[in-house]
């Protein structure tokens, strides 16, 4: 249920080619629009400190921008190479990160390369300078035509927030009645964490983007938003991961060339539906790799995911939550999100959570609609066979778990689990599927050969009854 104290009659959520209105149906009155936002291309000019690149990458990921070029004072490139790189990158924004006074002369070289490469670009890229005062003046002298803005140090939380706000303003095209999807999801995650008084991780996979958001009950939220998806950005997933890594998740023998044709067709067919089981399996495979690479990018950008892995609540949204079976959403999430403790996995299959998040992002009072709890996932890697006891309305079920086990214990009504080696007793009022014991180990290893890989995947799929009979 979404309630608003202000004059917003409905929230309109844009997908690839269509829009959904919450509440459904046409309505009179002001409409708040939720959009994915423009693609913003960011290039970075970095000082000599090699530790500057990760905070810059994190700023771009948090702001949902594409980092199209990193040019450093000590990268060994010539003026021409730097200028060509920046010209081909066609950046909308250029961030200068040079906190050291000694970087001033070297940064001028980069600024001259920027002018040589992008002098005639229309519109000229804005330059955001997060640097010593001397550096700012010399960059302004080298690039007199470019609009220059000052920013706090991007390595600090305040600097990153300022950069994210700037990037989002560009992605919104300065429209007033628009909330970006990632902003809405961050607000929703923050509200859910506050409501549950526990850490929440929200995984959102759409056609064009993937978001991993970690919200803490004290209101601190870190969102990573990557242009990888299961639709328009499906070809970017292949470009990043390689076709082989996508193909390995398909639980049947499938030729790589035909798989690539399917992915390219999907990328150019906005909001297409996977009508066949194979297309559905492909969408699930793309979602896995999109999440995996978003998490990997976050780690490369210096984000510690330990707290996120340990979050007791995992919420799935977007296309990931709209898969026909809850088990499909669940398996995709737990295959790539390596939780370190018991996790309650829920999904919000409609757009109501995004709508509520959009209202919350605008400072309006909104109650988050409850997500549907799918399962409690207990990940473990026991040294020797261990006993897990699950209590639900039907009684007590005891399971012996060894390394490699992967099983679902269906439950009815209220559920409580007793696991070895921990005093935590995860519980839930109701679960759509039940309790999943995952002792496959992390990182998940898939056999390289089809003859071993397909039976392994088939076993995991069968354990949760993931795919319709045709695909088995």
């Amino acid at each position: 249920m979404t309630t608003s104290t202000e004059l917003v009659a409905s929230v309109e959520i844009a997908h690839e080619a269509r829009t959904e209105r919450i509440p459904p149906g046409s309505s009179e009155g002001p409409v708040l629009r939720v959009v994915p936002g423009d693609v913003v291309r960011v290039a970075a000019l970095l000082g000599r400190d090699p530790r500057l690149a990760p905070p810059m990458a994190l700023g771009a990921l948090a702001g949902g921008a594409s980092l199209v070029g990193l040019v450093g004072t000590h990268d060994g490139r010539t003026l021409v190479e730097r200028a060509e790189l920046l010209r081909d990158a066609h950046p909308d924004l250029v961030v200068v990160l040079a906190p050291d006074r000694g970087d001033a002369s070297a940064m001028v070289e980069l600024a001259e390369a920027l002018r040589l490469g992008c002098e005639h670009q229309r519109p000229l890229p804005h330059i955001i300078v997060s640097a010593d005062e001397r550096v700012r003046d010399r960059i302004a002298a080298s690039c007199p035509a470019n609009p220059i803005e000052l920013s706090p140090d991007v390595r600090t939380a305040a600097g990153r927030e300022a950069l994210v706000a700037r990037l989002r303003a560009v992605r919104r095209r300065a429209q007033a009645d628009v909330v970006l999807r990632d902003e809405a999801l961050e607000a929703a995650a923050r509200a859910m964490a506050a409501g549950a008084k526990a850490d929440v991780v929200l995984l959102d996979v759409t056609g064009g983007a993937t978001s991993v958001i970690h919200a803490r009950p004290d209101g601190i939220v870190l969102g990573i938003h990557e242009r990888l998806g299961v639709g328009a950005a499906a070809d970017r997933v292949v470009a990043r991961a390689g076709l082989g890594r996508v193909r390995r998740w398909i639980p049947r023998a499938v030729e790589a060339p035909a798989l690539l044709e399917r992915i390219f067709n999907r990328a150019r067919w906005p909001d297409a539906i996977p009508a066949s089981v194979l297309a559905l399996s492909l969408e699930m495979a793309l979602a896995r790799e999109a999440i995996a690479h978003t998490l990997a990018d976050a780690e490369r950008a210096g984000v510690s995911l330990e707290a996120a892995w340990a979050a007791p609540l995992l919420v799935l949204t977007g296309r990931l939550a709209q898969l026909p079976r809850a088990a499909q959403s669940l398996l995709v999430a737990i295959d790539v999100f390596g939780a370190t403790g018991p996790t309650l996995v829920s999904r919000s299959s409609g757009d109501t959570l995004v709508a509520a998040g959009a209202l919350a992002a605008r400072g309006r009072v909104a109650t988050m609609p409850p997500a549907e709890p799918i399962a409690i996932v207990a990940e473990m890697w026991p040294r020797r066979s261990a006993t897990v006891r699950v209590t639900d309305a039907s009684g007590v079920v005891t399971e012996r778990v060894g390394r490699g086990s992967f099983l679902l214990i269906p439950t009815t009504g209220a559920v409580e689990i007793v696991m070895p080696g921990t005093t935590v007793r995860p519980s839930a009022e109701h679960l759509e599927l039940g309790v999943v014991i995952d002792a496959r180990g992390r990182p998940l290893v898939l056999p390289p050969r089809d003859a071993e890989r397909i039976p392994t995947l088939a076993r995991w799929n069968a354990a949760l009854d993931v795919l319709p009979a045709e695909a088995r």
């Binding site: 994915p36 693609v39 996977p274 319709p468 045709e470």
Partner: protein, 344 residues
């Protein structure tokens, strides 16, 4: 509407190092050189304003060779004074590529040359070192993705029917410089053979994505890939895999066979330079349906009937169209000219 005759605009981005460009307002034809330039080796920085004893803003006044000009070794680039002259000369042969804010100059050796040709008959509406834009009238067909460099040539049919596959055996050196129309699918073999025979471009309903990845490497995505002049040019009109062309798209290509045409790769468009009254081409093309397993696309019947909410083998329930081959999700049916790029 698949075919459209109207005024189109085509951008021609330029690489670094443009040395000559056509002026704004000039009339050009497809194939005319719009700009020429050079590629650079490792540049050298030489003292400019400091050496001459002038402020950087005054350096342009005393330069003998403007920025962008070619120089030989020991050419005097800038000079000041009469009796006690000070001069800056080039230590290498090349081009003066850049004047820095502090008045120093960069000179780089020339290691290659490039040219950019127009893909439209029309008027130059923008011309600067980043881009030359040409606007002009032509028949045009919008594709979903194009690969390779821009191409100019005559339209030439290489298939008998819109659902035929382009066979390598139909391609020979007599087709040099032509833009081949290839029906439902241009195979990797036919693209390779066409390139070897000097064919300007291959246009087809679809092409194999894996073949394109082999030819164009990592640059090839579903949106296409703009490359240097040594690669073949391929325009996919509908998608990837197999996609028979609708008759409303194919028959005008038959009628326009022999006409001058161009493929503008960056925007994935085929321009055909024929008069507006060349034929009744501007007709509504049938909608296109993506295969249920996403392995290709096909034109739909003219009159589609909805079969209501249908449960597909994937267990997804969605509104569907009834077809002779079974239900097709409404979401997987697009107009030929529907935008294929999601809205921001």
């Amino acid at each position: 509407m698949a075919w459209l005759y109207r005024r189109h605009s085509a951008d021609h981005p330029l690489a670094l190092g443009a040395s000559e460009r056509v002026a704004e307002g000039r009339e050009v034809h497809a194939g005319d050189v719009l700009a020429a330039g050079t590629t650079y080796g490792t540049p050298l920085k030489i003292a400019g304003a400091r050496r001459l004893g002038v402020v950087p803003a005054d350096l342009a006044r005393v330069m003998r060779v403007r920025v962008g000009g070619e120089v030989e070794r020991r050419t005097v680039v800038a000079r000041t004074g009469r009796r006690f002259a000070r001069a800056v000369s080039s230590p290498i042969a090349g081009r003066v590529i850049h004047q820095r804010a502090d008045g120093d100059l960069h000179i780089a050796p020339i290691v290659g040359r490039w040219i950019v040709r127009s893909t439209l008959d029309g008027e130059v509406t923008r011309s600067d070192d980043a881009c030359v834009t040409v606007e002009g009238s032509a028949w045009a067909l919008q594709g979903v993705a194009a690969f390779g460099p821009d191409a100019i040539g005559e339209v030439s049919l290489a298939v008998d029917a819109p659902d035929d596959e382009l066979q390598p055996s139909r391609i020979d050196v007599r087709m040099q410089g032509r833009i081949l129309i290839g029906g439902a699918r241009a195979t990797a073999e036919s693209i390779t053979r066409a390139h070897a025979c000097g064919v300007a471009a291959v246009v087809a309903g679809a092409a194999p994505a894996s073949g394109l990845s082999v030819v164009y490497g990592e640059a090839a995505t579903a949106s296409g890939a703009v490359t240097g002049p040594d690669a073949p040019t391929v325009l996919c009109l509908i998608g990837f895999g197999v996609a028979p062309l609708p008759r409303e798209v194919f028959m005008p290509l038959v009628a326009l066979s022999g006409a001058r045409a161009a493929v503008h790769t960056a925007s994935a468009r085929l321009f055909v330079f024929a008069p507006e009254d060349a034929g009744d081409f501007a007709r509504n093309a049938p909608s296109l349906a993506l295969a249920n397993d996403w392995l290709g696309a096909r034109p739909m019947d003219e009159h589609l009937s909805q079969s209501g909410v249908t449960r597909f083998p994937s267990e997804i329930e969605a509104e569907a169209f009834a077809t002779s081959d079974g239900p097709v999700p409404v979401a997987n049916v697009l107009a030929f000219d529907a935008p294929r790029t999601p809205r921001a």
